[in-house]
Symmetry: C2
C-alpha cells in the first residue's frame, strides 16, 4: 500500500465519517462523500465495494473510539467512587471531541438493532466475558462494607451513562429551550457537568 493509496483511503474515510454521521446511512449520498473526498464516485466502489460496506467501516471506527477507555476504567482496580470520576470526566471529554457519534449510533440503533450489538460483543464480551459481573461484584462488596447504600448495579450503570450521554444526544433541544440556543453557554454547561454529575451520583448512593 503506497502513500497515494493511503492518502485516498484516509480522505474517503474522513469524508464518509462526516456525511454518514450527519445524515445517517439512508440520508447519505455516495456522490456527496466523493465530492467531499475530492475524488470520483467510482473510486468509492473501488475501495469499498458498496455503500453498506463503507458505512460499516465508519460505524465500527466510531464505536471503537469509545470502547477501549470504557474497558480500561471498568477493569481497573480503583474503588467505585474513583471509577465514577474517571468515567464521567473521560467520557464527557471524549463526547465533546466527537459530539456527533452518540446520535449517529442511536440513529443506526433504530434502523438495525442487532448491528451494534454484534460489534459490541465482538469488542467487549470476548475480551472480558464477565465485565458486568465484575462491576456488580465490586459494587455489592462496597455495599457490604457500608460504603454504599444497597443499589441495583444495572440501574446505576444505566443512570451514569444516561447522565453523561443524553446531554450530547439531545443537545439541540436542550440548548434551544434552556440556553436560548447559545452554543458557548452550552459548552460551559457541559464542562460544569463533570463535577455536577459526579456529585449528583455520589450523593445519591453514598451512605
Amino acid at each position: 500500500m503506497d502513500n497515494q493509496q493511503k492518502d485516498t483511503e484516509i480522505k474517503i474515510l474522513d469524508a464518509a465519517k462526516e456525511v454518514f454521521q450527519q445524515k445517517g446511512m439512508t440520508g447519505a449520498r455516495m456522490q456527496e462523500i466523493a465530492d467531499k473526498a475530492g475524488i470520483n464516485k467510482s473510486l468509492l466502489h473501488y475501495y469499498y465495494r458498496s455503500k453498506e460496506k463503507l458505512f460499516e467501516k465508519v460505524f465500527n471506527m466510531a464505536v471503537s473510539i469509545f470502547i477501549p477507555k470504557m474497558l480500561e476504567i471498568m477493569l481497573s482496580e480503583k474503588p467505585l467512587f474513583e471509577k465514577l470520576e474517571f468515567f464521567i470526566n473521560n467520557y464527557i471529554d471524549l463526547l465533546t471531541k466527537h459530539p456527533y457519534i452518540p446520535g449517529f449510533v442511536i440513529n443506526e440503533l433504530n434502523r438495525n438493532p442487532q448491528f451494534l450489538l454484534n460489534i459490541f460483543e465482538k469488542n467487549v464480551q470476548i475480551k472480558e466475558k464477565k465485565l458486568f459481573e465484575r462491576v456488580d461484584v465490586q459494587i455489592q462488596e462496597e455495599v457490604k462494607k457500608g460504603i454504599l447504600n444497597p443499589i441495583d448495579t444495572r440501574h446505576l450503570i444505566t443512570n451514569v451513562i444516561a447522565l453523561v450521554v443524553f446531554p450530547m444526544v439531545a443537545r439541540p433541544i436542550i440548548q434551544g429551550v434552556m440556553f436560548e440556543n447559545d452554543k458557548k453557554q452550552y459548552d460551559s454547561f457541559l464542562k460544569e457537568r463533570k463535577a455536577f454529575v459526579l456529585s449528583f451520583v455520589i450523593n445519591s448512593i453514598k451512605v
Copy 2:
C-alpha cells in the same frame, strides 16, 4: 369531510407514523406507506402534497403527545418532590406506550436541529413564556426554605429527563448488553425505574 375520507386519512397517518418512526424521514418510502395503508401511492400525494409535508404532520403528532402532560405537571402548584414523582411516573408510562418516539425525535434532531425547536416554541413558549423561570423560582425557594441543597435548575432538569428518556432511546444496546436481550426482563426493569429514578434524584438533592 365524509367518513370514507376520514378513514383514509387515518389509515395514511397510522401507516406513515409506523414507517417514519422506524426508518426516519430519509429511510422511509412512500410506496411502503401506501402499501401499509392499503392504498395507492398517488393517494398519498392527494392528501399530503409531498413526503416532507406528510412527515411534518407525523412528527408534529409525535411531539404533541408529550407536551400537554409536561406543561400540566410543570405548571401545577405541587411541591417539587411531588412534581418529580408525577413527571417520572407519567413519562415512563407515556414512553412505554410510545417507545419509538424518542429515537424518532432524536434522529430528526440530527437531520434538522431547527425543526423541533420551532414546534416546541410554538407549543410551549407561547403558552407559557416563563416556563423555565417558574420552575427555577420554585426550586430556589425550596432551597431557601432548607428543603433542598443548593442546586442548578438546568442541570437538575437535564438529569431528570436524561434518566427517564435515555433508557428508552438506548434500549437495544442496554437490553442486549445487560439483559441478554430479554425483552420481558427489560420491561420490568423499566417499571422498576419509576421508583428507582425518583429516589435516586431525591436522595441526591434533599438536605
